[in-house]
Symmetry: C2
Subunit: 316 residues, 2 copies
C-alpha cells in the first residue's frame, strides 16, 4: 500500500484528467484556477476542521470568511474580477443553529468585502466541519504561472510570514499575548488581493498566490514557467516586531517568511517595475530550481518545503 | 441549542446570502443551480462517506463517478450543456494510492461520458472521504423550477424508484441476489439526463431533477412556481419485476417510486406533449400542495417526505 504526497497525486490526477475537450486557448488543471472560454475563471478550495483550522482558533464567522477568502485568493492570482461563489458545507449532524448562522455570516462578509455574491451551494452531513468554496471570476487576460522569463524581477505583496506566525501563536494558545495580536489577526482575517491581481494584468509575466509558502509557491511558478529563481534573504519583508514575536515563539523569522503558508499574498514576476505596492525579493534565472542568496553573498539551493497536507505529520 | 432541518437552513441561508449584486436576469440561490450572465450555469454537490454511500456499496471508481453524475444532474435539470467540472476531494491521510487512482478514474469516466472535462479541483485531508463536485454548463434558455402553470402535464423520465430499491438491497447486503441486480446497478451507475434537459428547452415550463424523491422534488417545483399538483398513482412507472423485488425487501413499490431519492431522472411540466420519452404522472393545479389520486379515484394530500440529511435519523 503506497501513500504518495499531495503534489505527486496532483500530478497523477492531471495526467489522467488532462482536459482534452478544452478549447485551444483554455487552461485546465495545473494553474491557480482553470481558465475557460477567455472570460471565465473558476477554482475550488476546501477548509477542513482539524486540518486547516481548529474551532478555538477564531469565531466561526471568521473561520468561514477565511475559507471563502482562501478560495477568492485564487481569483486574485489569476487577475480575475470575482463574479460569485458557491459554498458547499459539510456539517456534523448536531451542529447548532448559532454556529450555522455564524458560518453563513462569514460567507456573507467575504462576499460583501470582495464583491463576490454567494450564488449557490450545498449542505451535507459529515464527521467534521468542512467548507468547500467554488469561486467564479472573469478576465480576458489571465495572470498565469507560466510566463516568467529569466531576468524578470520577483515581487511579493504584504507580509507573507504574518499569518504563519499567528498560527504558531494560536497553536501555543498565546493569542491573548499582545505581542502576537497583529499576527493572529493576519491569520484570522486574511484578504484576497483582488485589486492587486487586477492591477497586475498586462504587467506581471507570471503570478501565484502564497498559499503553500513563498518558496514552495515560487517553486510552482518556476516549474510552470520552465525557469529558476534566486531569492535575496536580505530583501524579505519582515520588521523588528515580527522578528521579536517569532523569537518569543522559538521560530526563525526568515523561515516563517519563506515557509509560512496561507498568507494569500501575491508573488509575481515582471520585466519592469511593479505597478503595485510590493517588495522585490529576488530575480528569475534561466537555471531551474530555487536558490537563496544569504547575507554573506553565498547562494545555495533553497531547502524549505511547503506544507503538504498528506505528507506532513506535523503539528497541524 | 436548536438543530433545524436542512430545508429550514437553506431558507435561512438564502435570506442572508440572497444575491443582491446579481444582474436582473440572473438566478442565485433557490433553483437547481445558479444561472449567471445568461450563458453560464453552475452548481455544486457533495457525496460524503457514511452519509451518501458506504465503501462496500460499489467500487471506488463507481462511487466517484456517481458523485460527479449527481452534480451533473443539476445541469441536466437546468437544460444546460456541460462545460466542465471541478473535483474537491477530502481524503483520510492513510488512503492508499489504488483507491485514489480509482476515484480519479471514476471522475474521468463521468467526464468522458457526459462531455464535462475535469478542469480543476482540490485535495485536502479529513476523517472520511468526501467528494465535492462543482459543475459548469451553459444555456441561453435555462429550465427553471418556477415556470409551471395550472393545467400543465407532469412527466418524469426513466424509473425514479430503481436506485432507491437498489440502495435498500445494498443496505441489506442482498446485492448478489439476481432479483436486485438491475436496481443495484441503477444506484451504482446513474446517468445525468443531459440530453433530455437540452431537448426540453423551449418545451418544458419547469423542471427539476429527482434527487430528494419524486414527491419532495415536485413539492420544490410547485413551491417555486406558486402552484400545486396532483399525481396519479396508477400512472407511476414501475413494472412487475420492480414490484416483486420491492416486495422481497418488504418495501412498498409505490412508496419507493414516490419517495426514492438519488434517481437523477428529470421531472418536468409542459403545456404540450413531452418532446422526449417520459411518463405522464400527473397534472399541475392552481391549488397549492401536492396531492395523490389513488386507484379508487380518491384524491388526498401527499404525505411522504423527501430524504433530509439533517432531520433524518434513518438507515442512511
Amino acid at each position: 500500500m503506497s501513500v504518495s504526497s499531495e503534489h505527486e497525486r496532483i500530478a497523477r490526477l492531471g495526467a489522467r484528467l488532462r482536459s482534452g475537450a478544452l478549447a485551444e486557448q483554455d487552461v485546465g488543471i495545473g494553474d491557480d484556477a482553470a481558465f475557460l472560454h477567455p472570460e471565465l475563471v473558476v477554482s475550488v478550495d476546501a477548509a477542513v476542521e482539524g486540518v486547516h483550522f481548529l474551532p478555538r482558533f477564531a469565531p466561526w464567522a471568521a473561520l468561514a470568511r477565511r475559507a471563502a477568502v482562501a478560495a477568492l485568493s485564487d481569483l486574485a492570482a489569476m487577475g480575475a474580477a470575482p463574479m460569485g461563489m458557491l459554498s458547499s458545507l459539510i456539517l456534523p449532524r448536531g451542529l447548532d443553529d448559532a454556529t450555522f448562522d455564524a458560518l453563513v455570516e462569514g460567507y456573507a462578509q467575504a462576499a460583501d468585502e470582495h464583491g463576490a455574491p454567494v450564488i449557490g451551494g450545498n449542505l451535507a452531513a459529515g464527521t467534521e466541519v468542512s467548507m468547500t468554496t467554488t469561486v467564479l471570476g472573469r478576465t480576458s487576460a489571465p495572470l498565469l504561472r507560466s510566463g516568467a522569463r529569466p531576468g524578470d524581477a520577483l515581487y511579493v505583496t504584504g507580509a507573507p510570514g504574518a499569518a504563519a506566525l499567528g498560527l504558531h501563536a494560536l497553536l501555543r494558545e498565546r493569542e491573548t499575548d499582545d505581542r502576537f495580536a497583529r499576527f493572529v489577526e493576519a491569520w484570522r482575517r486574511p484578504w484576497a488581493r483582488i485589486d492587486a491581481g487586477l492591477a497586475l494584468r498586462g504587467h506581471a509575466s507570471a503570478a501565484i498566490d502564497v498559499s503553500d509558502g513563498l518558496l514552495a509557491d515560487l517553486g510552482h511558478l518556476c516549474a510552470a514557467s520552465g525557469v529558476g529563481a534566486t531569492i535575496d534573504i536580505g530583501a524579505l519583508p519582515h520588521d523588528a516586531t515580527f522578528d521579536a514575536a517569532a523569537a518569543a515563539l522559538g521560530r526563525d523569522p526568515v523561515e516563517l517568511v519563506l515557509g509560512g503558508g496561507e498568507a494569500y499574498e501575491l508573488l509575481f514576476a515582471t520585466a519592469g517595475a511593479s505597478p503595485i505596492e510590493a517588495t522585490r525579493v529576488g530575480t528569475v534565472d534561466a537555471e531551474p530550481g530555487v536558490r537563496l542568496r544569504h547575507a554573506d553573498g553565498r547562494v545555495a539551493p533553497a531547502t524549505l518545503a511547503g506544507f503538504d497536507h498528506f505528507a506532513s505529520g506535523g503539528e497541524r
